[in-house]
Symmetry: C2
Subunit: 303 residues, 2 copies
């Protein structure tokens, strides 16, 4: 099952000629989950081949313009593309009012319904669940109410050994029970232990999105052991005072969070436009957490 | 004096992977005039090296999302870049309310003033003037009130022949009068005719922007003899019924307007995303008006 993240924008509030505004898209088995939607996101989604028809859920961390101003245009385009399915938006309650005002100005009629899921930015909460994954939100520490998100695949059933199905001629109706861990009893009454019939499914993957936020160890329990952690690193270490002032993080702080959370891999992003070259930020992070990458527009992570 | 137009976006309402939403930027002697501001315009301005610090005037044809949704992000970025100069926006009166609502949501404080110039979309009106150029708006024919714009350089003073200045030792204080067409009288009382001292300045250039609009010959007087006419051609000729329905133009209609207006050059754009290849539209236009180009993001016209 695909579980890949594509970075659509890697700049902080001020975009540059090669870094667009914040948005990530998670491809979970060809269903697309959008996280944040800065201006230009619909253009980046097209550029990087996301299937707009399979985008049903949009998660917005907070209501700063660089994380949401792509929504009206994206919604307009989905409408023009003939969408009729509900579109689910998970965001701070105020977004509904803002979007409704804009949509009233610019669209006579949407052919689909926007279902708003209002986020509580004060606690850890499950906000989405389907047969294969869950999404939880948790509080980040920014100038306005802000949520992080963690997308977790559900543990999968055991894999069954095809050779054993054939050998014991196991009927189809028994397969699900065996995949759930039960033993199998043959017609002759012999019990075949489950361990002879199955092997472990692959480890369920998790991806956490933490932007925008000041350094905040309180999030560690929510993102513990995550496979891919995206954590903002708006500033280089030497600009720590500016990070404190604006409730953002430095490269080393992002790396410290990754290390404390025992993340398998870290990607830093949301870089201030003041850095023409972000190599020093990457080096600062790698000193603390070696398995760090720097976000770049179009960069894809297969988790 | 530079008088160049760069196309920042050439798609109609639905952007594609290589066509962004409508915006043109006119560089008039390193002052930048923006016409329309679809989503992503600030990214395109950076990509195509417009100087944001010298962008003081933004002209909005009409309040469809694909022509205005780039404004909040652009204004935010100008603020982050430290702008303090007034920003002049020429648009339908409703824009002020829409933008004010958005700015109230997303910005605590702008460090500059937005000066709104409210357009009357029913008549031909001068809306801007400085020492070098004028801008007029005129009515287009679309589903909502829509203006076209014509940017005209003012006729320039005569050029003075430097060799004649030296030969007659003409004092500096006389130069302006000679450039205005006066003769020169030497200390000996000899009258030197102006034609011996000057030569014609280059023809003042004009650029007209006509989008979005149904075919409308009423605009011909306003754009007569224009050096560069941008006219939308959302549809190919075979989709004429759709053009009528949506108050847009076909490629041949754009070309007919150019021919009737005696334009020197035509550029068509605002192409529907249904056309993967716009060569047929270009061919249809060139059959009627040979000096036609197809808009493309980043394409620059030196007028």
């Amino acid at each position: 099952m695909a579980f890949t993240v594509t970075i659509l924008g890697s700049s902080s509030a001020l975009p540059t000629s090669n870094r667009s505004l914040t948005a990530h898209v998670l491809n979970a088995d060809e269903r697309f989950f959008l996280i944040d939607c800065g201006e230009g996101t619909q253009l980046q989604l097209r550029r990087f081949k996301a299937k707009l028809g399979r985008l049903d859920h949009i998660f917005i961390t907070h209501l700063h313009g660089d994380h949401v101003l792509g929504l009206p245009g994206l919604i307009s385009s989905l409408n023009l593309l003939g969408r009729t399915n509900d579109l689910h938006i998970y965001a701070h309650p105020d977004l509904k009012k803002i979007l409704n005002q804009l949509l009233a100005h610019f669209f006579t009629h949407l052919n689909f319904t926007i279902v708003y899921h209002l986020l509580n930015s004060c606690s850890f909460e499950q906000i989405y669940e389907d047969s294969k994954m869950t999404v939880h939100s948790f509080p980040l520490k920014h100038r306005i109410p802000t949520c992080g998100f963690i997308f977790r695949q559900k543990p999968r059933l055991l894999n069954i050994r095809k050779d054993m199905i054939e050998f014991y001629k196991i009927p189809v109706k028994q397969i699900y029970a065996i995949k759930c861990g039960e033993d199998y009893m043959t017609d002759e009454g012999i019990i075949i232990p489950n361990s002879s019939l199955t092997f472990e499914a692959s480890h369920p993957k998790a991806y956490a999105f933490c932007s925008d936020t000041a350094y905040n160890e309180d999030i560690i329990p929510y993102i513990k052991d995550v496979d891919l952690l995206y954590h903002e690193a708006t500033f280089a270490d030497e600009d720590h005072p500016r990070a404190i002032e604006t409730f953002h993080s430095t490269a080393s702080q992002a790396a410290s969070i990754a290390r404390l959370a025992n993340a398998k891999r870290l990607v830093i992003g949301h870089f201030s436009a003041r850095y023409k070259d972000i190599t020093p930020l990457l080096e600062q992070a790698r000193t603390i957490f070696p398995v760090t990458d720097a976000a770049d527009d179009g960069l894809m992570f297969d988790i």
